[in-house]
């Protein structure tokens, strides 16, 4: 994210390359450290160097980088850098302006700070999984790991807040990020049901709960001709307009039963609706949606100003005209593969400053010479020696 905003980000990898290079998917399915699409997607806009921090020489070089940096972002287990003599206190002595962001599953200190976790443990620890999946079957995570980008994005917030304080005071600080804590926001306010009313929100499969004080649950996912639609019987102004528009659309195809046509939507109160009423409404709607394609639904939703979207696949995301009209996609050259690759564009558009992908992810040690030689002033022989000794 800092790179997207124009920062000069140097990725420091262990000699041989970062373990994330082993994560798929891979370019043309070829398992190779220079072909990980996971790596490509989350490391563009950076330059890359290799460095063995476990060697004294490596730490000496790292101190040099620390002295000239505005930020250090690290995700080692708590205490690892301290054991190497490169912990926050040391970095702060070298460069008192430095913002050091430390990212771990549970935080730098505390009873579970030493616990190991990958995405699924973070999703379990934050409670997210207790809200996903069918009742009576195991709690689920989102199949594609989400806690990593979530934690990265929230860590960027904390990093920039510390950066803003430094702009006023001149002093750096440490930002201690917990992935578990970041994920607490992902599933919104489910926990407040317990807090306020001692009601425990739980996984409800394809249904939405918590919208009516009667405990009624509403269907969210409806089979259509070529997949699924996300449509919910909502209340409120937009909900009533949507329900009305849907009935008109159904009626146009002769599929709206009389009771739906007669329904007084202005008097419809979602917060007090009963399960019986919801079930009665959902039955003809389900029959109607089975006759509709995702594309047709999306077009009608836009045209009729209804709430709802198709359950899109990555393929359909690439067909969305909105993203082309906004010139969202970015093509970056990959000369090492003799090709160019399409990336998602920036996370936001700033009217005065650029934001987005502009440089592909680095190859292993791609900028060793540029940075160690050019910018840190080492001679060609020194760089060669570090290389032959395996420090870089």
């Amino acid at each position: 994210m800092l790179g997207d905003l124009g920062a000069d980000v140097i990725k420091v990898e262990r000699p041989g390359g970062d373990p994330a290079r082993a994560l798929g998917p891979f370019y043309r399915g070829e398992r190779h450290p220079e072909k990980s699409l996971y790596w490509f997607a989350f490391n563009n806009n950076k330059r890359g160097i290799t460095l063995d921090l476990e060697r004294p020489q490596g730490r000496h070089i790292f101190s040099g980088l620390v002295a000239g940096a505005d930020f250090v972002i690290e995700s080692f287990p708590p205490g690892y850098l301290d054991r190497l003599g490169m912990g926050y206190e040391t970095m702060n002595q070298i460069n008192p302006r430095l913002v050091v962001t430390s990212i771990t599953p549970f935080g730098q200190t505390g009873p579970y700070s030493k616990f190991k976790a990958s995405d699924i443990e973070i999703m379990a620890a934050s409670g997210c999984m207790s809200l996903t999946g069918d009742p009576g079957r195991p709690p689920l995570r989102i199949t594609f790991p989400q806690s990593y980008p979530w934690t990265g994005a929230y860590a960027a917030m904390g990093t920039l807040i510390a950066h803003w304080q430094r702009a006023q005071t001149g002093a750096g600080q440490q930002v201690d990020v917990s992935a578990q804590a970041c994920m607490l926001w992902a599933f919104s306010h489910a926990h407040t049901f317990w807090d306020l009313n001692r009601h425990l929100e739980k996984r409800a499969g394809s249904f939405m709960t918590g919208r009516s004080i009667t405990g009624a649950k509403m269907r969210v996912f409806w089979p259509c001709r070529d997949g699924y639609l996300n449509f919910i019987i909502y209340g409120g102004e937009a909900g009533r307009r949507t329900n009305q528009a849907l009935v008109e659309w159904m009626d146009g195809k002769g599929m709206a039963p009389e009771f739906l046509k007669q329904k007084e939507w202005r008097a419809f109160n979602i917060a007090e609706v009963t399960q019986e009423e919801i079930d009665r409404m959902e039955e003809p709607i389900a029959r109607f949606f089975e006759t509709v394609t995702k594309k047709e639904f999306f077009q009608e939703v836009i045209k009729r100003e209804m709430l709802g979207y198709p359950v899109a696949t990555v393929e359909e995301i690439f067909q969305d005209p909105q993203l082309y009209a906004r010139d969202f996609w970015r093509v970056l050259e990959h000369p090492e593969l003799g090709t160019s690759i399409t990336y998602p564009g920036g996370f936001a558009r700033l009217s005065e400053s650029a934001c987005g992908a502009w440089r592909r992810a680095p190859l292993i040690g791609e900028h060793n010479e540029e940075i160690y030689g050019g910018e840190m002033g080492m001679t060609k022989r020194e760089v060669e020696k570090l290389k032959s000794e395996g420090v870089i």
Binding site: G158, W194, I317, L350
Partner: protein, 404 residues
């Protein structure tokens, strides 16, 4: 001192995508004003349970409380032009940052578009957070984050391969956009500090969300592969899932990525004979026979309490965690150690757990220290003390229904 002390923010915003950006700024000391009116209160006050004791009320919403702690709430009926527009401009002149999440075009129609606000205050930073962005054929389509999470691919990736997509609780994608919104605002503040220039940030929640599935977008574009939901499975690990434990609806997750972890897991299981069978002898073999593997693991976990599974496996160096419920996260010792929740008293809700930031800054204390505001609670204080209206001006605006 708090990192964002002195920063002044006004929200022409409701629900989550705008106000939670303000909440994160307020947690580090920014002065944040949440603008509503009695005619049009924040939708979270009016339409979204839970309400305390299931009794509906404008000041009884847990969701509003969560998203608006530490802020001031003022009323301004923007429909009462031109007096309301003039007053809104005065507030903008006071502020450093404007956050709005109306449908694109609404601020223009209210006479408060970016071009106008720039004339009021050239260095203003304006975050416009919307579903699909400020331009393009779908720009004006209003929608909720709970459904946008489907358009952006997330729900297609949740559930069993042979079943329907599954719901992600709440407006999942809104809180992704929140992180990007906060980052963009601070980047814009930094840019202003260096150049003197303000700017508008056009944040499409849809485009923010797509960042979180970026590798899968590349996989489709390059390899033609359409990613699908696959429950708790992971290509790099086996076993990898949630397993039933002793007790009702009690679960523990565990994951094994390396051979060393597999050996450690087998030791904790007591090295039963099945663990040395050829069909579980390597990662690839375990992936091939994963259903059978899951059954064996579940046989063991069902005899043990979830916390015991977690403690035992973590001690052995195997990743594992209890699947915590929405009740457990309040008493989780690690979150308590970090001071993740702060209990504040609210006049209608009573004691409530307000949420503190997920990052701890070593030199800046974090809030919230104040509960969320009641509707219009800070009218007099903000308009009189901070904006400097005279009593007569204030009374007239109240009487005319502008401050209402």
């Amino acid at each position: 001192m708090q990192a964002l002390k002195g920063l002044k923010v006004v929200e022409f915003a409701a629900f989550a995508a705008g106000p939670v950006v303000g909440k994160h700024l307020a947690d580090y000391g920014a002065t944040v004003v949440h603008l509503e009116s009695r005619v049009r209160p924040d939708g979270f006050r009016t339409h979204y349970p839970p309400y305390k004791d299931n009794i509906h009320g404008l000041n009884r919403s847990g969701l509003f409380a969560l998203c608006n702690s530490q802020k001031m709430a003022i009323n301004l009926n923007l429909k009462k032009a031109p007096a309301a527009t003039d007053l809104a401009k005065k507030i903008v002149a006071w502020a450093d940052v404007v956050i709005e999440n109306f449908s694109p075009g609404t601020m223009d129609r209210l006479g408060l578009g970016h071009e106008t606000l720039k004339k009021v205050k050239p260095e203003i930073i304006m975050l416009s957070s919307s579903n699909m962005g400020q331009n393009g054929p779908h720009a004006e389509h209003a929608g909720f984050g709970s459904q946008l999470s489907s358009l952006s691919g997330f729900t297609n990736l949740t559930g069993y391969p042979d079943g329907p997509p599954q719901i992600l609780y709440g407006p999942y994608i809104d809180y992704i956009a929140v992180a990007y919104g906060v980052a963009a605002i601070i980047a814009a503040l930094d840019y202003k500090k260096r150049t003197g220039k303000g700017q508008q940030i056009d944040l499409a929640q849809y485009e923010s969300g797509l960042q979180f599935v970026a590798p899968l977008l590349l996989d489709y574009k390059i390899n033609g592969k359409v990613a699908m939901r696959n429950a708790n499975r992971d290509p790099h690990a086996a076993p990898h899932g949630a397993y039933p434990c002793k007790g009702e609806d009690s679960w523990c997750v565990l994951s094994v990525f390396s051979e060393a972890e597999w050996q450690a897991l087998c030791r904790e299981l007591g090295n039963p004979a099945w663990t040395s069978e050829p069909r579980f002898a390597s990662h690839d073999a375990r992936k091939t026979n994963e259903d059978e593997l899951d059954k064996r693991i579940a046989e063991w976990t069902s005899q043990v309490a979830a916390h015991e599974v977690m403690e035992k496996l973590q001690r052995a160096g195997v990743r594992s965690h209890v699947v915590q419920t929405m009740k457990d996260i309040y008493s989780d010792p690690q979150l308590q150690h970090r001071g993740q929740w702060t209990e504040l008293e609210h006049p209608e809700i009573g004691k409530m757990h307000y949420q503190r930031p997920p990052y701890i800054l070593s030199k800046s204390p974090a809030g919230p220290e104040r509960r969320d505001p009641l509707l219009g609670e800070h009218n007099a204080h903000f308009y009189r003390e901070i904006l400097g209206l005279t009593q007569n001006e204030y009374d007239a605006l109240v009487k005319d229904g502008v401050i209402d």
